[in-house]
Symmetry: C2
Subunit: 219 residues, 2 copies
């Protein structure tokens, strides 16, 4: 049986690899939507397998670490935070896949000139995930809190995107499928932001031992 510290290092390394892959998946899926780029969408779908494998590996590592010996408080908080972040990353990977699938579908539909702020939404969400993962690596609770505060901006943009799409559908019945695809892509982006928030909450739990879940912007 390997040493605790060695497994802990492996957990850290795999989580970093997973973070990198998931961030790239978000970036590519958003770009495939914006640029109507099929190869980017396909690359996201191909990358899903490795992300899923990493989730299983990290989960098994975390369970081994917990079973191997009684971790001290700080290690225990790190391992439980890592397990939760792992789970959130896997879901973000799934959502990036959903966006890539919508991008694929949109390429098979007649094109409409819908003016929506979806790129702006994607940029904000991407930066939230980046900030949340950074706050984990740097164990920085201030940065984690900034993620929590960004969530209001996401909700406002989501509302605006939805209103634009509903308005467009009402006026252009032939664009219904097209707008529905964009709507679900926007919804997936919003949910990625929710997972970024969860990651930030895990960082706060890890660094300060406080559980801020279910308390909007609580401290």
């Amino acid at each position: 049986m390997r040493h605790f510290d060695e497994l802990l290092e492996e957990l850290r390394a795999k989580l970093l690899e997973m973070s990198g892959l998931v961030q790239s998946a978000i970036h590519k899926s958003a770009l495939s939507l914006r640029e109507r780029d099929l190869s980017l969408a396909e690359s996201v779908l191909k990358g899903e397998c490795r992300i899923n494998q990493l989730e299983l590996d990290i989960d098994a590592l975390a369970t081994s670490l917990l079973a191997l010996e009684q971790p001290v408080a700080a290690d225990l908080r790190f391992i439980t935070a890592a397990a939760k972040i792992n789970n959130n990353l896997e879901r973000i990977g799934d959502l990036a896949q959903n966006i890539a699938e919508r991008a694929q579908a949109l390429l098979n539909e007649p094109r409409f000139d819908v003016r929506v702020d979806i790129s702006q939404l994607a940029d904000l969400v991407e930066s939230m995930v980046q900030m949340a993962l950074d706050s984990f690596v740097k164990k920085d609770p201030q940065q984690a809190r900034r993620v929590l505060f960004s969530d209001d901006g996401v909700d406002a943009l989501r509302d605006s995107v939805f209103a634009q799409l509903i308005d467009y559908m009402k006026k252009n019945s032939q664009a219904v499928e097209y707008c529905v695809d964009l709507m679900f892509a926007a919804r997936s982006l919003e949910r990625i932001a929710d997972h970024a928030t969860n990651i930030a909450e895990s960082v706060l739990f890890m660094t300060e031992g406080v559980d801020v879940r279910h308390h909007a912007h609580a401290h």
Copy 2:
């Protein structure tokens, strides 16, 4: 510090309470949609708080149990399965809340006579959650497998609901908001089924020690 078995019993009891509340939330939210019943929708929204509190309690209990002493293999698998199921139940609670919010929104919109199979979808999803939680209580891997197989039926029904709604929107531009609300309610139901599948996978992991995630219908 309390005894391990006592905490384990408390974990079990709280998880059962949480299961009951979440099942009731699904049932009420689906009924509020079907019957256009505002008080049912409101009751789901009011119940959310207790579900969130239970999630935090169960999470804390699971962490204490893992930290308290090195659990034997079967207990460790039970505790990690319980923690995952807890997480899935909380998300199902959120999704039931989303459905209740859509039901509220629908009551504020002009009514349309859209014929969709959403009740059938709700019934199937409800039975999947019931089966998954039963398989956990009874530690019954056969029943857990039946949950995994039900997921195809959910996908087929979801496709049919979506096609019906898109068709209706194209023909009735004034019904766009109405159909979009129904669409997101159907999507929430589909996601509840995904969480039922996750719960069943945790049961298989707990009872047989196999990880069937990311392997569609494995074994």
